[in-house]
Symmetry: C2
Subunit: 252 residues, 2 copies
């Protein structure tokens, strides 16, 4: 079996954030699998077959791509951002573990990318410049009780947060519920960044205080960053403030 | 004042991981500041001035770069990995806040990159595929008590960990001390990835169980990933196992 499957991160939005390694992996594939809007961002190569799928069907997409690779094809699976962060790489690993034994003999590679939280952070300064945690607010894959527990413990640890999937389709109000929990654990003045459609023409970046956040203005294209007690706003004349987390920290 | 300063992430090691946006920002700069070995990875452009500095002098480098931008120059500050993760972006923000008021009028931008933990994760599967935390083990900037507290709380939250700066120059044994704490909080069989010199010719990836980790084989070029209770090894004939964290989670 000589098939090869590469899971490729194409970053968030902006094509200038796609690494040369990622572009080469896509260009070299015979079959390209991915969510339709992601595939539409890429150039087509003659002889290449594109397989657009629904964004919610990650496991089905992984199985289809592995099945194609098992016939000897060179396959790319496109993932927004970085494939290793709440994205396709884990789905592919899961499918390999649960699938036919010969899938374990396939040549499987992953091309990293710029994940949404890093692009969002870059737009405002360095809010993730000290210790931080990344948490998905989607309760499609885990119970809300676990999400809430992680929000509370990482607050106790005084770490900045990057919150992915803030408007999961199962319940809608992930961001609203998360802000309600965080208001119990963090100072009212904690800086919050709501970054939507990062790197796209309709990109929007809003900087607020935690006390002013209730989930309004958040949709599936939003990445939320919540500061720690060491996150600061630096006012600037005629410009948005810089938001950064101090590198120095005192004893707890 | 028309100066411009861009903090540019060049990813870890491999040049094929430098985004086109990062390359363009460096090519367009009159002055390029950075740690010598990072600058050596980049092509030189005629008329461009390079300022190589020591890796430990982040704040001094930020001040020098801002001073140059304040004279109207177009300046790039090069950062390994992503500049927003334990790197130059926070140092620049800190210098702006503490510096002369006219630095706040400068055009400051940040170009994100592939950070070390994402490249390390991509080499083995998807160990950071569910909720995770990123913690620097350097006690140059914060007391060890705070690091230990964060290791314990994120273990209680059952999140995977990416550990940066595991061999800080102040004390040496950050990794050994961290593993001692983590052995008290996580199962002995927890998968651990030691990724060194990622993307370089001498890259080395070692997969171990937590019980077999004592800090040996760790240096400043190592990025450590520690799994959660949901991190699995998938054995493969003739290949290294896949390491991934399950996307589904049960109630705590």
């Amino acid at each position: 079996m000589s098939g090869r499957l590469t899971v490729v991160g194409i970053g968030p939005g902006n094509e200038a954030w796609i690494t040369p390694a990622a572009s080469a992996a896509i260009a070299g594939a015979q079959d390209v699998y991915g969510y339709g809007p992601y595939l539409n961002r890429l150039l087509t190569r003659p002889g290449q077959t594109r397989h657009a799928t629904d964004n919610r069907e990650e496991l089905a997409r992984a199985v289809a791509a592995l099945s194609a690779a098992a016939t000897g094809r060179t396959v790319a699976v496109v993932s927004g951002g970085d494939p290793g962060v709440f994205a396709m790489a884990a789905a592919v690993c899961e499918a390999v573990e649960a699938g036919p034994p010969d899938w374990r003999a396939l040549d499987i590679a992953i091309e990293p990318g710029v994940t949404a939280m890093l692009a969002a952070a870059s737009r405002v300064g360095a809010p993730l410049g000290a210790d931080f945690a990344a948490i998905s607010l989607s309760d499609n894959l885990k119970p809300w009780a676990l999400i809430e527990r992680r929000l509370r413990l990482t607050s106790e640890a005084d770490m900045a947060l990057a919150l992915y999937n803030p408007a999961s389709q199962a319940r809608g109000g992930g961001a609203a519920r998360a802000f309600a929990v965080l208001k119990e654990c963090r100072a009212a003045g904690t800086p919050v960044v709501l970054a939507s459609a990062i790197g796209r023409p309709d990109e929007s970046i809003v900087i607020r205080r935690l006390s002013d956040c209730d989930g309004e203005g958040v949709d599936m294209r939003t990445l939320i960053i919540v500061g720690s007690s060491a996150t600061r706003l630096v006012a600037r004349p005629g410009r948005a403030p810089l938001v950064y987390t101090e590198r120095f920290a005192r004893a707890p």
